[in-house]
């Protein structure tokens, strides 16, 4: 995480990433000064509400930030290479083969007029032209089998599969080129809770079997608490808190994280007293001065309104953007 770490040994190092969108009404900083690292076989959870920048972060990692968005600052190192310096050919290689993406909506992510098998064959042969059609089909069957779909379904069209099965196909597609990182952006939001549990179990099992790293982006804190090793809590484009999941659960430090944990119902508790976070997230066209969270913060102090706090290191791998922890080391 440290700034001097310019020759990163991590699988993925994101350093000071800043992404802006130029809207007609002004400039929106969707992601600002975001840094983290990821190791092999690790799961990173990214949690935030709509507009927090979590999806923009995911898209940045595969150089797919849509126009009029632009990465304006920062570096992203994948296995030591800065992907922001990649040329077109390398970007194509990056997407799918080195980092792959599972999107939210399995209903619209597959081409309705192409058979399941065709999706695989196209993907595999674009990246690995030497592979024959037949070999690609065989690999597709094995992948389908790995995600729990009968290989015979390879000749089905997407509409013949249920939502859960389509998401399994999407996951199999994401694994087809053996990437080192899979990013799943709200992979289960469109699915029912039992199917959701199965898909998340599957992602976990595949992460171990394929030795890849997983980035799980979601608005649902419960899901990432359960499933990830480390967690980034995002608020209005900023990292509010970054820590190991267990630390975040036992010792949430940022008032926003604390508020979130107090506002989500937990079915294992009886007579839970839930508290809402007052107010609503800021308009990023006109963000508040100082800390982005101060208008909703129960502990707001004078300086919070003037200057945005940096990330303070409050423990081993525990970072918080809040003046309450000013005693800790500054990152």
């Amino acid at each position: 995480m440290s700034k001097k770490d310019k020759a990163p040994t991590h699988l993925l190092t994101v350093d000071g990433l800043t992404v802006e969108y130029w809207a007609r009404r002004g400039k929106i900083r969707a992601v600002e000064d975001l840094s983290f690292s990821l190791e092999k076989s690790e799961t990173l959870g990214v949690v935030g509400e709509s507009g927090s920048g979590k999806s923009t972060l995911g898209l940045s990692l595969i150089r797919l930030v849509p126009y009029p968005g632009k990465i304006v600052k920062g570096n992203i190192f994948l296995e030591g290479q800065n992907i922001l310096k990649f040329k077109n050919e390398e970007i194509r290689d990056l997407r799918g083969r080195r980092i792959s993406f599972v999107f939210q909506d399995p209903m619209t992510s597959l081409n309705p007029v192409k058979k399941i098998g065709t999706h695989f064959v196209e993907l595999i042969r674009v990246h690995e032209p030497k592979i024959s059609q037949k070999e690609a089909f065989e690999r597709a069957k094995k992948l389908l089998n790995d995600v729990g779909i009968q290989p015979e379904r390879i000749n089905d069209y997407p509409h013949q599969l249920s939502g859960g099965m389509r998401q399994r196909v999407m996951i199999a597609l994401a694994l087809a080129l053996n990437p080192s990182i899979v990013i799943a952006d709200e992979p289960t939001t469109a699915l029912d809770v039992i199917v959701q549990a199965k898909i998340l179990d599957l992602l976990n099992a595949l992460r171990d079997a394929y030795g890849m790293a997983l980035i799980l982006i979601t608005h649902d804190l419960s899901i990432v608490m359960e499933r990830s090793d480390k967690l980034i809590v995002m608020y209005a484009g900023r990292v509010a808190e970054y820590a190991r999941s267990t630390d975040l659960y036992t010792n949430p430090q940022h008032p926003y994280t604390q508020g979130l944990l107090k506002s989500i119902p937990n079915i294992e508790l009886t007579d839970q007293k839930l508290e809402a976070i007052e107010g609503s997230p800021p308009d990023l066209l006109n963000p508040p001065n100082g800390c982005r969270f101060w208008p909703r913060c129960p502990y707001v102090m004078e300086k919070c309104r003037i200057k945005e706090p940096p990330l303070f290191e409050t423990g081993a791998n525990h970072y918080v953007r809040c003046y309450l922890y000013e005693g800790g080391k500054t990152k």
Binding site: D192, Q196, A197, E226, Y249, Q272, E278, S280, P281
Partner: protein
């Protein structure tokens, strides 16, 4: 009719015909139906929050729409304050709708984008001929304040696009209570709202319930929220109630294998918790071809021969705890 009962639903059924192409109409005579609600009975007590919970396609929303009479039932009866509502004519229905209101899921689609907030909230008063002009405005201001949109003068002349999703849902809430109803059907009222704001809407609902003496039929797929808000809960599966009872009883002592699977699949915000994998096979069958016998059999970890032929009834296994499963009979 037991004491304090406000709503009773008896053997409610709703089948939607499946659209066929012209050619199919010529070639086949058989018609097929989506059995969205297939014999559902329950009753709601005055002043409680009764929740219908289940996965998508289980018929919970259709049941809500049938109760408000947005759609007519195929068969079955709905009693509101002991009056049978399924056979009411247009005029009686209008009177009924003052007493039963509905809040919808999508606060972006349920408000007319060209109507100012004040007018959207006051419109029901005009429709029912209760107030207009200055009197209407005064009432609207009062209601806006009640749902926490303060100062109300600031909101009354805004258009829906000028306010946030959470505020829109407050507007929907305001519009539903302005006629002073007794009963509100809330269909997934918080599922499209950001996590940090959900509890504010839930708290508002509970506050208004206390102040105005409302009864809620709450429809949700989110059992964690159901547990927080409900007094009693009914778990639906494929058009039927699988299990029904007091909230604490259902969550601490689930009997139906579907309820058990559903509860075990809910994520819990605790990284130390070791989840046990859900045992359910496959996915929900199509509501067009519901298998004979127990409709849950194809996924049930305990499926026995007896389940193949006879559909289990919803049986009271102990006071106020009902289960539809052959294993408990």
């Amino acid at each position: 009719m037991s004491q304090g009962e406000i709503l009773r639903v008896e053997q409610l059924v709703k089948y939607f015909p499946v659209e066929k192409s012209f050619l199919e109409k010529l070639l086949t005579r058989s018609r097929s139906f989506v059995k969205a609600v297939d014999n559902v009975s329950f009753s709601v007590r005055r002043g409680e929050v009764f929740t219908l919970a289940g996965e998508s396609g289980c018929g919970k929303s259709t049941t809500g729409r049938l109760i408000v009479r947005l759609i007519p039932p195929t068969s079955g009866k709905v009693f509101f304050n002991n009056v049978e509502t399924t056979s009411l004519g247009t005029e009686d229905l209008r009177v009924l709708r003052r007493k039963i209101q509905m809040i919808f899921q999508d606060p972006y689609a349920s408000l007319n984008p060209r109507m100012k907030i004040g007018r959207a909230v006051g419109h029901p008063l005009e429709i029912h001929g209760l107030a207009k002009g200055e009197e209407e405005r005064k009432k609207v201001l009062d209601i806006l304040e009640r749902v926490g949109l303060t100062p109300p003068e600031q909101f009354i002349d805004l258009y829906p696009h000028q306010i946030s999703g959470g505020q829109r849902q407050r507007i929907a809430m305001a519009r539903s209570i302005i006629l002073e109803p007794e009963f509100i059907v809330a269909d997934e009222p918080v599922s499209m709202i950001d996590v940090s704001l959900r509890m504010t809407i839930i708290d508002l609902m509970l506050h208004l319930q206390k102040v105005l003496g409302l009864t809620y039929l709450f429809i949700t797929h989110d059992l964690a929220i159901a547990k927080y808000i409900s007094d009693r809960i009914a778990i639906m599966y494929l058009g039927r109630i699988a299990e029904m009872g007091e909230k604490d009883e259902i969550f601490s002592n689930p009997i139906h294998p579907y309820t058990q699977a559903l509860l075990s699949a809910i994520p819990v915000p605790n990284p130390e918790r070791r989840r046990k994998a859900t045992e359910l096979k496959g996915e929900v069958p199509s509501a067009i071809n519901i298998p004979p016998g127990c409709r849950f059999r194809s996924r049930c970890p305990y499926g026995e021969d007896g389940c193949k032929n006879v559909e289990p009834d919803l049986v009271e296994i102990k006071p106020d705890h009902f289960v539809a499963c052959h294993r408990t009979e």
